[in-house]
């Protein structure tokens, strides 16, 4: 398989070769991989790549999926403009 042509994160255009190299170097958490590559920081917020990368980590390290996948997420869900936030505040008083 041509690993550099196999895309894992469509939002940020990251291929599987990049991910595998990082795991081999000892970068074995989703959070670290995200910070290095921007995987999971695009519009879909890791919904596409998260499970795929988690499986790669699980295969290479033997960690259970449950420990790799962090269910913690922060609001807001999806992107919001500052203007949209401000419009909402005006409504309150």
């Amino acid at each position: 398989m041509n690993d550099d042509k196999t895309i894992v994160c469509r939002c940020e255009d990251i291929d599987i070769e990049t991910i595998r190299k990082l795991i081999d170097q000892g970068v074995t958490s989703l959070e670290e991989i995200k910070r290095i590559t921007r995987c999971g920081m695009g519009p879909c917020q890791g919904k596409t790549c998260g499970p795929v990368i988690a499986r790669e980590i699980a295969m290479k390290t033997g960690q259970p999926m449950e420990e790799i996948l962090s269910p913690r997420s922060r609001p807001p869900f999806g992107g919001v403009l500052f203007q949209e936030v401000l419009e909402g505040i005006d409504d309150e008083e």
Partner: protein, 535 residues
């Protein structure tokens, strides 16, 4: 700040059902839906739903949703807010949502989250080429916008979604070059597999995709066979030409909003991956937070509707105690258990037992009668022999042949025989059994089977002519006295026949019932017709 008793997030079947149940129990409900209309997955489903008639199975997804919309619109205390995306659930019980360019705040007494699921992705070479689609996108283009995404499609995944979307693609005029499946067995219901096999679509079990070909768009794919350990068999690669690759490799629950709220999760592959922990009444570990539908475990609309109702009732019970809701809650739980009690529910049952920590339920007894069928999608002569009447009965009257060999939770057929000739089920997973003393071969059942697995055969006349009546859901419709091609269970043309009747009234709801006169020797082979295109 908007206040209400119950906030429901997600307007698919689960969310609507929760809103209706809570609304009927007197709660002031606000239902948020991101899209411009209610319905979730159902808005794209043009096929007849399998499942329980009590939950509207046997009708098309798009019709079910119209029905649900009417029911929810009648409840004055349920407010529906469309084109509204829930953004956050905060610890202090406030939720935020985006509506018409404003971030609004809502303070409900309880929340039901029913955000459904999203599609899994698959790594393979060139998987970012234009022409690689998710099944959901294909359905949105085709069934909502009327745009055919491609001409020759390779389907990846033989679960119900892969099988049903393949069928819909053929209805829309595309060609499906094949359905591949990594597992040695077809993943979806076998009636759906048989439905596409007789259209001539091959299904390749133990097979996966290695790469897509093409420079700036998909022009083909390289596939490879897998052994019993799911390892690639060296040298077994083969290629197909196609202009699109459709991924139908499963769904993951859409848990983002719950992840913000302190809800706990467990990784249970049988239920779709990371799923929220909840009790049998759909309550999570966070007080006043409930879930329902595909978000809780990837299942079907029947389950989503029941779970939604349960979540709505649980919330009502908590907010407005003193109403007698328990009886109905128990009924819904019983119904859900029955739905999951058959062989195809085994995965869900084992997943749920991991969730609740209960002992693993006893596995359903295994039969190997459908082993061959579950590799090929084609019924064996032995399968068929088990559903036919004896020779004497064949000669006396027309009769129904129900080619439903796999126990699935589905019951529309039983409710649609005017003569009560399909024996009542004791369990929704029962196989249909025809009482040939009562069956008149009238064919009323044909159009109601979501698997399109019922045919009637009339071999009462002397001579070499006989008649077969079958369902037909393609355009153009055949006309009387037209000569059509006769296809067998694998889609092979085995002869020609003359159309004797075409029943296509509003009652059939686009499942045309066609009777064809054919050679007597072919009555148990022909299961599909093809209108011969006049050039």
């Amino acid at each position: 700040m908007i206040t209400c008793d119950l906030l429901v997030i997600g307007g698919g079947p689960a969310g609507i059902s929760a809103a209706v149940a809570a609304g009927k129990a007197g709660l002031k409900v606000l239902l948020l839906e991101e899209r411009e209309r209610l319905g979730g997955q159902l808005t794209k489903q043009t096929h007849r739903f399998f499942g329980s008639v009590a939950e509207r199975a046997g009708t098309r997804g798009i019709a079910i949703i119209k029905d649900l919309e009417t029911v929810v619109a009648q409840l004055e205390n349920v407010e529906i807010s469309l084109s509204t995306t829930a953004l956050g659930i905060y610890e202090d019980g406030v939720s935020t949502a985006l509506k018409s360019g404003k971030m609004i705040k809502i303070k409900p007494k309880a929340i039901v989250v029913a955000t459904g699921a999203f599609e899994k992705f698959l790594p393979f070479e060139n998987n970012d080429l234009p022409g690689v689609y998710g099944a959901g996108a294909v359905q949105t283009l085709m069934n909502i916008y009327g745009v055919l995404p491609a001409r020759r499609i390779l389907m990846i995944g033989s679960g119900n979604i892969g099988l049903i979307v393949s069928y819909q693609l053929v209805q829309a005029g595309a060609e499906v070059v094949g359905v591949i499946e990594a597992s040695p067995k077809i993943g979806g219901y076998l009636v759906h597999a048989s439905k596409i096999r007789r259209l001539g679509i091959p299904i390749y079990p133990s097979c996966t995709i290695k790469k897509a070909f093409g420079q700036d768009r998909v022009v083909g794919a390289e596939l490879v066979r897998l052994d019993e350990k799911w390892k690639e068999i060296p040298g077994s690669q083969f290629t197909v030409d196609c202009d699109a690759i459709c991924l139908a490799v499963g769904l993951n629950p859409l848990i983002d909003l719950l992840g913000q709220s302190g809800c706990q999760f467990k990784y249970i592959p049988e239920l779709g991956g990371q799923v929220p922990i909840r009790d049998e009444s759909m309550r999570t570990n966070v007080p006043h937070l409930y879930i329902a539908g595909d978000l809780s475990s990837i299942e079907e609309a029947t389950a989503a509707l029941l779970e939604g109702e349960l979540a709505g009732l649980s919330a009502a019970k908590q907010i407005r105690p003193g109403q007698s809701l328990e009886a109905r809650m128990e009924e819904v739980k019983t119904h859900l258990r029955a739905l999951r009690s058959g062989p195809v529910g085994e995965k869900i049952r084992s997943g749920l037992s991991k969730l609740t920590g209960e002992a693993l339920p006893t596995p359903s007894p295994r039969t190997n009668a459908i082993d061959e069928l579950s590799r090929t999608g084609i019924a064996s002569p032995a399968n068929l022999a088990g559903v036919l009447p004896d020779e004497k009965r064949k000669k006396t009257r027309a009769y129904a042949v129900i080619e439903c060999y796999q126990q699935i939770p589905c019951d529309p057929c039983v409710h649609n025989c005017p003569f009560g000739a399909i024996k009542p089920f004791s369990d929704i997973n029962d196989l249909p059994i025809v009482d040939f003393d009562l069956c008149t071969g009238c064919g009323q059942c044909i159009g109601r089977c979501p698997g399109l697995a019922i045919f009637t055969v009339d071999e009462t006349r002397d001579g070499d002519r006989a008649k077969i009546t079958l369902p037909y859901e393609f355009l153009p419709k055949p006309v009387r006295e037209e000569t059509v091609d006769l296809l067998d269970r694998s889609g092979k043309c085995v002869g020609q026949g003359v159309v004797k009747s075409v029943l296509n009234t509003p009652k059939q709801d686009k499942t045309t019932i066609v009777t064809v006169e054919i050679h007597r020797n072919l009555v148990q082979d022909v299961r599909q017709i093809r209108v011969v295109q006049k050039s």
